[in-house]
């Protein structure tokens, strides 16, 4: 390709050029570096070895299976089996729901609770907070107050079937809208509800009468809740959406029906019991509250 009369030796490298010039650009006629050839050969050898050992080339309807006989589905299944085998040693104990006995087994709890913490973080923390601190609309789990019950059995039921969830045995709780009450009355009622935790609410007022007529069925005569219908206590300082007059007005106007999904399709029975125990301890851990 290089005509002899183009011969032009580059002083830096000692190679001649190809003889072309593109707007001042020239190219050296450097011989093809051996290193590159060897690298190509090596890379190709690596590939051939991989093709021989692993599934590699399609052959119409089939493919070359490789001498190692590897199958990625089988490998994945084997990996899962090995790990869940290690878990079953202790997790199977949670299949039964004798929570008192489980709690009493200190060695078991030392193994299980760190795993429960991760299970909680991966499944519950998105709504209930990484430390169970909750948020508007999502109950606090760490303050020892409960909508249904702090009993691990009941907590397990809630996790399993959810609240207002797509599950035949779900817990059902709805705060209906009271938008039919005249607005001035609703204002008075919301102020009354806001005053309940401080004990300043007077039941002998018209607003107190409205409360007894409309709210006491679920929230209890004194507003203390605890009737196992998921109606929160209105006398403690724990709140779900907020207990200031504005929020209560909103609740009265539109109602509330929070949703907790049912986890039985996603978590095993043992995992749900483990989580129930973890959540129970989360509520006890805060101290401060009975």
């Amino acid at each position: 390709m290089t005509a002899p009369h183009h011969r032009e030796v580059d002083p830096v490298t000692g190679h001649d050029t190809t003889g072309h010039d593109w707007n001042g650009i020239r190219e050296l006629n450097t011989p093809f570096p051996r290193l590159v050839i060897w690298a190509l050969v090596l890379a190709f050898l690596y590939s051939v070895i991989a093709w021989v050992l692993l599934p590699a080339w399609p052959t119409g309807r089939d493919y070359t299976r490789g001498l190692l006989g590897l199958d990625q589905r089988a490998e994945a299944a084997e990996g899962f089996r090995a790990l869940s085998g290690r878990r079953q040693d202790w997790l199977s104990r949670f299949g039964g729901a004798d929570f008192a006995a489980l709690t009493a087994d200190k060695a078991l709890m030392a193994t299980a609770m760190p795993a429960a913490a991760r299970l909680y973080a991966d499944n519950c923390a998105a709504c209930h907070g990484t430390r169970g601190q909750g948020g508007p609309g999502f109950p606090v789990l760490s303050d020892g107050t409960w909508l249904w019950s702090g009993d691990p059995d009941e907590i397990a039921t809630t996790i399993r079937h959810g609240i207002n969830a797509d599950d035949p045995d779900t817990r059902y709780a709805e705060m209906p809208a009271f938008d039919w009450i005249e607005r001035p009355d609703r204002i008075a009622l919301s102020r009354f509800v806001a005053d309940l935790p401080g004990g300043a609410a007077d039941f002998e007022t018209p607003a107190g009468g409205l409360f007894t007529e409309n709210c006491a069925t679920c929230h209890g005569d004194t507003g203390a809740g605890g009737l196992s219908v998921g109606a929160p206590s209105l006398t403690d300082t724990a709140t779900l959406y907020g207990q200031d007059p504005e929020t209560v007005m909103e609740t009265l106007r539109h109602g509330r029906a929070g949703l907790m999904p049912a986890w039985s399709g996603r978590l095993s029975g043992a995992e749900i019991n483990l989580l129930a125990l973890y959540v129970t301890q989360l509520g006890q851990g805060s101290g401060g509250r009975p």
Binding site: D10, P11, V12, T13, T17, T18, H20, W22, N23, G24, I25, R26, E27, L28, N29, T30, P31, F32, P33, V36, A39, L40, A43, F44, Y46, S47, A50, W51, L54, P55, A56, W57, P58, Y63, T64, G66, L70, D71, Q72, A76, L83, S84, G85, R86, R87, Q88, D89, W90, T111, P114, A115, A117, R118, L119, Y120, A121, D122, A125, T130
Partner: protein, 541 residues
């Protein structure tokens, strides 16, 4: 723009602008509302603007020169301006979304500003807006110089530059309105894809027609790379975007591919977008601007040709390494992995060829920040192609996949290689286009260089740490068979790296802003026409 066109060319331009406006009007009217209608109005606006621009200067004096003796640089200059505009948009959005990952609470309460919509604005803005405009603009320059021929006609380059940017603007505004076909790096909807096909075919024909008129006996290797970029991107774009519109009057469509075939086609496209958009085209840029700036001959002609065919041949196979440990059959994964490893050889041969070209010009690398940009680009090209082949090995990928290591790898390629070679080319080209001896502020180039290198290193090192940390945390089991970390813990562990990444990105953006300012200062009051060698007169037939 119009001053460089003759009267018949202005008439054709006017006619095409009216067509564009009519197409826009038709789109807007047919769609009536929604994204497609707004995009119709955008085309209508662009068409009408061009009608007024060309119509207003239709009978202005004709261009003075004997034009076949001159290169046609006006589209290059316009394209470089758009390159810098897109650089600032794309990098700005990038820094913003990086900051959102560190301060998610700062997300404004409007859907258009959510992370999910802004992220493709960043990727499209950078890859297609910044990278694509740089490729188109420099390809026109390189093509003419290495062929010693003026572009085949004066209308097509404008169709390509303006049409391509209309595509980019459609894509980006569509994402903000929530319109996407959910294919990474191919998010734009069907009508934008069709439009791009028209533009791309125009580009390809223009390139071939100009090459056919060359006054050089041989085609310089840079043109091979640019041509591979244009041709393969057309192929990838068409196959991956095959879709059936729900209706011809709405933006939504269904892809013709489904299931694992869809995934395979998408990553065949996705990885070859990296190969032919972000590599082949930029190697063309490197093979022209590096020898021009360093004044050195290409170290090995043979190596440049073998690397070219090695890269084009091996790259096409490797897309399946994006789908390791998925529903894709194992055999396809093995092929992707092995071809990725073999690909390293021609990639390093290209990087080595570039670096060896600098032998005899190292004093220039020391003194000239522009040449240093190109040197660093070649080094990062070598680093990121090594990393790419390494990450494609299946067991390595089991650690790195789905982590920020991938993000770090991409940015070592895009910041360290693609953007650096673009800046090197810009700093070589802009003074020439402006008829100046050098850039307005050589000191600003020096500042830009160090900001870019520091920003890239901070970004890439932070993402390596982030990715390896995530990968290790996700796969760690304690001795009882339970996960050692929750996902939330792995997110919390990212905080310092995400902050560092934001800082690195901000440094890089600052450099790009300096570059834009420097280019503006250099081109202000520029003389028309580059001062380089005139064309060889056309030989008599």
């Amino acid at each position: 723009m119009t001053a460089t066109l003759t009267l018949p060319e202005r008439r054709i331009g006017l006619f095409l602008s009216v067509l564009l406006a009519l197409m826009g009007l038709f789109m807007a009217a047919a769609a009536r509302h929604g994204v497609m209608s707004l995009h119709g109005f955008m085309a209508l606006g662009l068409g009408l603007g061009l009608v007024f621009l060309i119509g207003g200067s239709l009978y202005d004096p004709a261009p003075p020169h004997r034009r076949p003796d001159r290169y046609y640089d006006a589209p290059t200059r316009f394209g470089l301006t758009l390159t810098l505009v897109w650089a600032i948009i794309g990098m700005g959005v990038g820094v913003w979304v990086a900051a959102l990952l560190y301060w998610p609470e700062a997300t404004p309460p409007w859907p258009a500003t959510s992370f999910g919509r802004l992220r493709p604005v960043h990727t499209t803005g950078i890859i297609f807006g910044f990278g694509g405009n740089a490729l188109i603009a420099t390809s026109f320059h390189v093509l003419q110089r290495t062929s010693r021929a003026r572009l085949a006609d004066s209308i097509s380059p404008w169709v390509v530059v303006l049409g391509y940017n209309l595509f980019c603007a459609w894509a980006v505004t569509g994402y903000l309105m929530g319109s996407t076909q959910s294919k990474e790096y191919a998010e734009a909807e069907w009508y934008a894809d069709l439009w791009l096909v028209v533009i791309w075919v125009t580009y390809f024909t223009l390139y071939l027609r100009t090459l056919a008129r060359r006054n050089e006996p041989h085609i310089y290797v840079a043109n091979w790379y640019y041509l591979a970029f244009i041709l393969v991107v057309a192929m990838l774009h068409i196959v991956n975007n095959l879709a059936l519109p729900v209706r011809l009057t709405t933006a939504e469509s269904f892809p013709v591919w489904s299931g694992v075939q869809d995934a395979m086609v998408q990553w065949w496209y996705g990885h070859n977008a990296v190969a032919f958009f972000l590599t082949a085209g930029f190697l063309g840029m490197l093979y022209y601007f590096l020898p021009v700036r360093s004044g050195r001959p290409i170290w090995s002609y043979r190596l440049s040709i073998v690397s070219f065919w090695g890269i084009t041949f091996f790259y096409i196979w490797v897309g399946s390494h994006h789908l390791h440990y998925t529903a894709l059959p194992y055999w396809a994964q093995t092929l992707g992995m092995t071809f990725s490893v073999m690909l390293l050889v021609p990639s390093w041969a290209s990087a080595g060829n570039a670096i060896a070209t600098l032998n005899g010009a190292w004093h220039k690398v020391r003194d000239d920040a522009t040449l240093r940009f190109m040197f660093v680009a070649a080094v990062f090209y070598g680093l990121s192609t090594f990393e790419g082949s390494f990450l494609a090995i299946r067991p390595v990928n089991s650690l790195s996949h789905y982590t920020d290591w991938t993000v770090g790898h991409v940015h070592s390629g895009t910041l360290g290689w693609v953007a650096m070679i673009i800046f090197g080319a810009i700093y070589t080209l802009v003074p020439q286009l402006g008829g100046k001896r050098q850039m307005a502020s050589p000191r600003a180039i020096e500042w830009h260089f160090w900001l870019a290198v520091t920003g890239t290193l901070i970004y890439v090192i932070a993402m390596w740490n982030a990715g390896i940390t995530q990968g290790l945390m996700w796969r760690a089991y304690d001795r009882n068979g339970a996960l050692s970390y929750s996902f939330v813990q792995s997110v919390q562990a990212m905080a310092p790296y995400y902050l560092l990444r934001t800082i690195g990105g901000a440094l890089f953006l600052t450099g790009a802003v300096l570059c834009a300012w420097n280019c503006r200062a250099t081109l202000r009051g520029a003389r028309e026409g580059a001062a380089d060698r005139p064309l060889v007169p056309q030989p008599a037939e």
